[in-house]
Symmetry: C2
Subunit: 218 residues, 2 copies
């Protein structure tokens, strides 16, 4: 694998890595030294062969009848995900979803350090949210540059998402994690990941709508 790119067929594996990490860390906390792919498969609810394929990506292979060394796996996954590198990050849109993300205790496992928040609401500007100061959105370019912020977590309404993305790109942002149900355009050199909470709900509702009047389709 080229060091610069991630192949698209690896994405499902990468999406599962945080779940592996949580299971492995719990095992480690209990003092377990080894884990089998069968155990991980059961906890992840996927096939053992897929577990072995997933873990191959991190460069760790198990020993027959012994399994994987828990500590090695934790280290390898953390390294794969860029653990150890601190990502100075800003939050754009300090609403409830933004506050929820800021308060997410697992963000720091990815090295995410939120150094500034931005909003347009005069009542929020100047206040602090989980210890982070909320600045006016108009200062975003200046502060992203001055604080060398690499990543922006964006939780703004759909109608301003593109404008905010443009400002961030202008300021030289490296990566954008955007919570939005609309797409935005960014230049190719900007790493962009969009989360659409409504699309999961759409799948769920489409299923419910097809599940009959009693809701039990058995």
């Amino acid at each position: 694998m080229s060091p610069k790119t991630l192949k698209i067929d690896k994405l499902p594996t990468i999406r599962r890595l945080p779940a592996y990490l949580q299971i492995l860390r719990a095992l480690s906390a209990k003092g377990e030294e080894f884990v089998s792919s069968a155990f991980l498969a059961d906890r992840m609810q996927i096939e053992a062969i897929l577990v072995r394929k997933d873990l191959e990506l991190t460069g760790i292979s198990g020993t027959p009848r012994v399994g994987f060394r828990v500590r090695d796996l934790v280290t390898a996954i953390e390294k794969f995900l860029g653990w150890g590198r601190v990502l100075d990050t800003c939050l754009v849109g300090a609403g409830q979803l933004g506050a929820a993300l800021l308060g997410h205790r697992e963000l720091n496992q990815f090295g995410i350090r939120i150094v500034a928040a931005f909003d347009t609401d005069p009542e929020k500007i100047g206040s602090t949210l989980h210890g982070v100061t909320v600045f006016p959105l108009s200062r975003i370019e200046e502060l992203v540059k001055r604080l060398t912020i690499l990543l922006a977590i964006v939780c703004v309404p759909a109608d301003v998402a593109q404008a905010v993305a443009d400002q961030l790109v202008q300021a030289g942002i490296q990566a954008i994690w955007m919570f939005s149900s609309v797409n935005v355009t960014v230049p190719e050199h900007v790493i962009f990941q969009r989360e659409d909470l409504l699309s999961g709900l759409a799948v769920l509702c489409a299923r419910v709508a097809r599940s009959g009047p009693t809701g039990l389709s058995t």
Copy 2:
């Protein structure tokens, strides 16, 4: 397509439907009567052929050189997603993410009506969140049955996710929308959709980790 099941290859389409809806509603609000697949493709950042395939699922086909009737598309997508059917819903875990979801103004476009929230925090129990009363988690079975709650939105820590799912299944819940980075097991008749916010972040961080010291991989 069977009325009871959704084929797995339709899932990407269904995940895009909320984004179509937002674009179409904005057009409708501006008084636009027709829309071309080229316009939708540009806004969705996908190929026009894929737009036409997506919209086929809702049963609406366009007219050459005229396009799709905006109003027909809105109605068809809403119907596909179960619009018009009210889904009485509870929120389990009234933390910040739960509050953010409760305050999400677009939930009602799916007919989601939150009728109760549950938490174990004595400070939250008895309070109201966006007008919804927070009950003790111990009353979940009783209230899900009594209020005939169909859907549960679950935002609880990973270590209690399975126990909460079990209680909901016991109470006869029809569908669970769970925000968690760990998997849980539910019987087949329960519609289950899991959102893992950390998995998107993992993909982003893995990309950033491979983007070189300056972060610009051009």
